[in-house]
């Protein structure tokens, strides 16, 4: 059974200018040991989507649909149950690890806090022991337990953040831009660590990133979001190497293949800015930036449709004779 399942999730924020639809009908399902990537630009709704798993969205947001963590709908749970589910059933490695740790508390104290809060039967001594285990699990020496965040490098802090998310042995782990501020070599180490944790412990892992190349090398499946919707999904390698939606093609081309002469002195970008959620155009929301847009793209917003046996894309050109 899927550990994390979302069915037709919508998130709408309230604002002075009227409702802002940040997430518009997302479906996904994540099995134990599976790694799912969510890609997209800033403002496409990917972090908002993640916030629904732990009900971390602001109070003025309206959320509809179902978010099932291990079969239970987080959106209809009583608050007590939600609090119990946070950390213990699902947890998040937040963006910007370098600033998320408390600078004036030692690492062990920060790691023990969720354990002591959530597991009444665990005493301080046992919690301390688990902290050392957690640090070793993320590849850090146990002696760092008594260190302060400023004594650690960026990569070490990111590992502590991962240890923190694992503290109460959750089944679902969400990593929001886990490597964005890190060096290439440390990025590779952190991605290796995350995927081995997911595989070894049967965790369902969701990685959110704007870097499609990172997701392609780490994930099994990838969802590409644009303006609050999934516009393409499929096996990670296929989505990156043979993208079907014009938006995915642009994202994929943004990361050149080294050695590919067509990208030499020809960086590839996507003109224009992502749409503001409150100001969507009629029809396909990608239309204003799309190099392949036609008049009929303005008529209706396309739904996901099969592009290959296991790849879906939301573009009217999918399935037409001249598709690329």
């Amino acid at each position: 059974m899927a550990l994390l399942e979302m069915r037709d999730v919508h998130v709408t924020y309230r604002s002075q200018e009227g409702p802002i639809p940040a997430v518009r009908g997302v479906n996904l399902s994540l099995d134990p040991g599976q790694i799912l990537g969510v890609a997209g630009e800033s403002g496409c709704g990917k972090s908002t989507l993640a916030s629904t798993v732990l009900r971390l969205f602001p109070a003025d947001a309206t959320v509809t649909g179902e978010v099932l963590v291990d079969g239970d709908d987080v959106l209809t749970m009583k608050w007590g149950q939600v609090r119990a589910a946070r950390w213990a059933k699902a947890s998040i490695v937040f963006q910007g690890a370098l600033h998320s740790l408390n600078p004036i508390q030692r690492v062990d104290k920060q790691l023990m806090e969720p354990i002591l809060l959530h597991e009444a039967d665990v005493g301080e001594k046992a919690a301390r022991k688990r902290v050392v285990e957690l640090l070793e699990q993320v590849g850090l020496p146990g002696r760092l337990a008594s260190a302060y965040p400023h004594q650690m490098s960026g990569g070490q802090k990111q590992r502590v953040m991962i240890a923190l998310a694992l503290a109460c042995r959750p089944q679902v782990l969400i990593a929001d831009e886990p490597t964005t501020a890190l060096d290439v070599m440390v990025q590779a180490q952190v991605l290796d660590l995350l995927s081995s944790i997911a595989r070894d412990h049967g965790l369902a892992l969701m990685i959110i990133s704007h870097d499609l190349s990172v997701l392609a090398t780490t994930c099994d499946e990838v969802l590409v979001m644009y303006a609050g919707r999934v516009v393409e999904e499929g096996p990670a390698g296929d989505v990156f190497e043979h993208p079907k939606h014009p938006y995915t093609r642009a994202l994929s081309a943004a990361f050149p293949t080294i050695g590919d002469m067509t990208s030499r002195f020809a960086p590839s970008g996507l003109p224009g800015d992502p749409p503001l959620p409150g100001e969507l155009v009629s029809g396909c929301p990608f239309r204003p930036r799309c190099p392949e847009a036609e008049d009929r793209c303005a008529e209706a917003e396309p739904d996901l449709r099969p592009a290959t046996d296991d790849q879906l894309a939301a573009c009217i050109h999918i399935g037409e004779a001249v598709s690329t």
Binding site: E41, S42, S153, G154, G155, Q156, D183, V184, M185, V186, Q187, A188, Q189, L191, D192, H210, D211, L212, S213, V214, A216, T217, T218, G237, F240, E241, A250, L251, A253, A254, F255, P256, T257, I258, G259, S263, R264, F265, A266, P267, S268, G269, L270, P271, D273, P274
Partner: protein
């Protein structure tokens, strides 16, 4: 050395480290950049790439060695530096952090011309914004950073540098905080500025894909030294130094044969190992491929690369 616009010769910069030690951030680096060239300086955090950039900008005075600009050694008097900075400008990373949120775009870009007492401030700002791709420029004058997208903010930062009509831009991680879609646009802008204004660009980055996209030449740094340099095609297609090979192997791509993930943290410039400074992490030495030269690797320091343009050089006992 061939005719160079900007060069650093045997640069050494030492910082006092916490606990009384010394961090040798630059430990003998030679780099020479020709007019109109785009050079990428790559390496991990702590490798000295930012210190090299700051030294070339005159923000850091080297303990040893010299910076040369147009055949003259850089002088460190306030007046000489001010004159120098009009010609060699810095583009900061993270535009959200480097723009004052309470300054309009016009004020942000006009600051440089004002400091340097340039005539026709409005004209300079208009020209710079337009060169940075913010058109029509007048439309942006009264906007504030929070009203702009990430890409537009980065363009404002670049316009601020262009306002002084410089010859060299030194950009520290110009796209690392930007969305993938915007990244290409900013890189294309740097290429266009080189083409249209003959600008020389030095880019400090850990992103090898960026180097492949825009750089003529790559300089790979490790612990304060340049360990490999050459044309981008040579260095990225047939890397000589094991460190460059490892860096290349972890670029996220599908077609990899095998990635070489170096263990351990970025190296510590307060404790530079003897022999080849890379030897404790070197996969060739650990895997036995360097057995024939292993003695040298652990005991003999390598010669400092001359940084001559047009040559593919690596500081490794295996290739010397």
């Amino acid at each position: 050395m061939t005719e160079s616009l900007l060069s650093g010769e045997d640069l050494k910069v030492t910082f006092r480290a916490r606990g009384g030690g010394q961090a040798r951030a630059l430990d003998g680096a030679n780099l020479s950049v020709s007019k109109g060239e785009i050079v990428a300086i790559v390496g991990e955090s702590g490798c000295g790439k930012t210190t090299l950039a700051r030294t070339l900008l005159g923000l850091e005075k080297p303990d040893e060695g010299k910076v040369w600009f147009k055949g003259e050694p850089l002088e460190y008097s306030g007046r000489a530096l001010k004159r120098y900075r009009r010609q060699v400008q810095l583009v900061l990373q993270d535009p959200s952090g480097s723009l004052n949120p309470r300054h309009s775009v016009y004020e942000a870009v006009a600051e440089g011309p004002r400091v340097h007492g340039m005539a026709d401030e409005v004209g300079q700002v208009t020209r710079a914004l337009s060169q940075a791709g913010l058109r029509p420029p007048e439309r942006f004058f009264l906007r504030y950073p929070h009203e702009l997208s990430g890409g537009q903010r980065q363009r404002v930062v670049i316009a601020g540098a262009l306002a002084l009509d410089p010859e060299v831009l030194i950009a520290d991680e110009p796209v690392s905080s930007l969305d993938a879609s915007v990244r290409g646009e900013i890189l294309a802008l740097l290429l266009k500025l080189r083409e249209e204004l003959g600008l020389t660009v030095l880019v400090v980055t850990h992103d090898l894909g960026l180097a492949w996209n825009i750089a003529d030449r790559i300089v790979v740094m490790y612990l304060g030294r340049i360990v490999e340099q050459g044309s981008t095609e040579e260095v990225l297609s047939s890397p000589k130094h094991p460190y460059t090979k490892a860096l290349l192997s972890v670029v996220p791509e599908i077609r990899h044969t095998e990635s070489i993930v170096l263990a351990g943290e970025p190296p510590d410039p307060t404790q530079i190992p003897g022999g080849c400074r890379f030897h404790p992490r070197c996969q060739e030495l650990a895997g036995g491929a360097a057995a024939a030269v292993a003695d040298k690797c652990t005991s003999q320091d390598l010669r400092i690369l001359t940084g001559a343009a047009g040559e593919h050089q690596a500081a490794c006992w295996l290739s010397s």
